[in-house]
Amino acid sequence: MRNSLAWYPIFLKEMLLFRRKLLRLGYVFSAMIMPIIYLGAFGWGLGRSVRIQGTDYLSFLIPGLVAMSSMNNSYSWVANALNLSRLYFKTFQVFIQAPISPSAIMIGEVLAGMVKGLFASLLIIIIGLFISSAHFITPLFVITLLLNCFLFANLGVITGMRAKSHEDTATYTNFFIMPMAFFSGTFFPVDKVPLFVKPIIYILPLTHTNIVIRKSSLDYEGLISLLVLVVYALLLFAYGSRLIRRYSE
């Protein structure tokens, strides 16, 4: 296999496992359940009476839920699977002992995480198309979604590599992922948060995903947020590759 395709066996392994998981209905439901609860609780509850940024709340919420869901699933599946395979099943060691580069391992794991994130997002998009009249799927939406999946799959690799136990991954999730899900513009615009909190909010990558994913075309604000996401993604990719390169038991 050519060096440029050295990532493919890792991706293929994850996809074979993913295909088996998809055959279990529980997996599909678990990917859908939280966004559907949010849609029901916030979307239908507030949707009819509240308008945000010139649109009804449901139309505002759906792109945010897609962003949140892509973040959660790209991140969680990679972080948990990698952590378990490294610490408990020891299957990650097969990759370390294979004659492939650390970046090939990184690419394989990240692409697999992206597929899982995109799958979960697709479920929300399909539901969104049924219940909302808004046309939220634009080329910018798709690019942002892919970038968001890439970014958080990278973060998943980092957590999977750094966490010292499976319980430890929950700590990372509680500190980084949960706050982002609620305070990065998924459920309400970030300009509504108090001034002193804003610098923190704008550090969080999901904030920038939520800014870009709701735009129909790229303006100056969107361009800056897109660049922030690209920089985050590249930095996280480089750091994840470094962790794999320095792996030692």
């Binding site: 493919y8 293929l12 099943f89 097969v94």
Partner: protein
């Protein structure tokens, strides 16, 4: 040829491997024998690029393991102590993924061949979760053999297997020593080291305390053992160089004296004062 030179590895204050040096000739089955915690697995992990040594060098066929890990990975196969197969994939899928990672050509033919060597060809499409411990060990061996590596590392290859299955495993391991392949085994089973290895290195607390053929090791400490119980009911063992010496000693002993040939456990006890198992 494999050279290990002044290899050291510590975890905190514990010296897992302490100034280890030895040489393994091409084409031999080399055994690292010692109790749990002797440093066998840590040594194997350093030789197979999983663990970076604190100091010292490992050189496999002229290539330094730390400086050129990718080159080393192209030349070695490893069976770890724990089962690290993908449990939710089939036997064939496990080998297929591994083969792709190691650039194996004519994949299907080689997978079929590897599965036949370990007698798992008829279970190629079964999910690994349903395999017995012995089948999983055999599949791990088939996986390691797939890229036809010139150097093969087996970390406790028959751990947890019952005696009959263990002997089947030994037969397969003997077959792997073809085409000048070097095989390195770690084990804490005395019989396994004696049955398989051309050379045995005995490890204790991270240090190499003896290195020779199994026969020479036994000759060094005494080929015969005279055993009897003392007045306190404690088992006393005396090593003897030959049968005559053993019988002479036994004649002066008490009732219930037995004479038997020595084994590698006796060598370990003589050298360390402790038991392996």
């Amino acid at each position: 040829m494999i050279e290990v030179i002044n290899l050291c590895k510590s975890y905190g204050k514990i010296k897992a491997v302490d100034d280890l040096s030895f040489t393994i000739n091409q084409g031999e089955i080399f055994g690292l024998l010692g109790p749990n915690g002797a440093g066998k697995t840590t040594t194997i992990k350093m030789l197979t690029t999983l663990t970076k040594p604190d100091s010292g060098r490992c050189i496999i066929n002229g290539i330094d393991v730390v400086d050129h890990p990718l080159e080393i990975k192209r030349r070695i196969g490893a069976v770890p102590q724990e089962n690290n197969l993908e449990r939710e994939l089939t036997a064939y899928e496990n080998l297929h993924i591994y083969g792709m990672l190691h650039n194996v050509t004519e994949m299907k033919e080689k997978i079929d061949e590897a599965l036949k060597v370990v007698d798992l060809w008829d279970r190629r499409d079964s999910i690994v979760t349903g395999f017995s411990g012995g089948m999983q060990r055999r599949l791990l061996l088939a996986r390691a053999l797939l890229p036809e590596p010139p150097v093969l590392f087996l970390d406790e290859p028959s751990i947890g297997l019952d005696p009959q299955i263990r002997r089947q495993m030994w037969d397969i391991i003997r077959k792997t020593k073809i085409d000048g392949r070097t095989v390195i085994i770690t084990t804490h089973y005395i019989e396994e080291a004696a049955a398989l290895c051309d050379t045995v290195g005995i490890l204790s607390k991270g240090r190499l305390i003896a290195l020779d053929t199994p026969q020479n090791l036994k000759t060094t400490v005494g080929e015969y053992v005279v055993e009897f119980l003392n007045d306190d009911g404690k088992l006393i063992q005396r090593m003897c160089q030959d049968n005559d010496e053993a019988h002479e000693l036994a004649r002066h002993g008490e009732d219930g004296v037995t004479i038997r040939k020595s084994n590698l456990e006796d060598v370990f006890v003589k050298l360390t004062g402790e038991r392996i198992g």
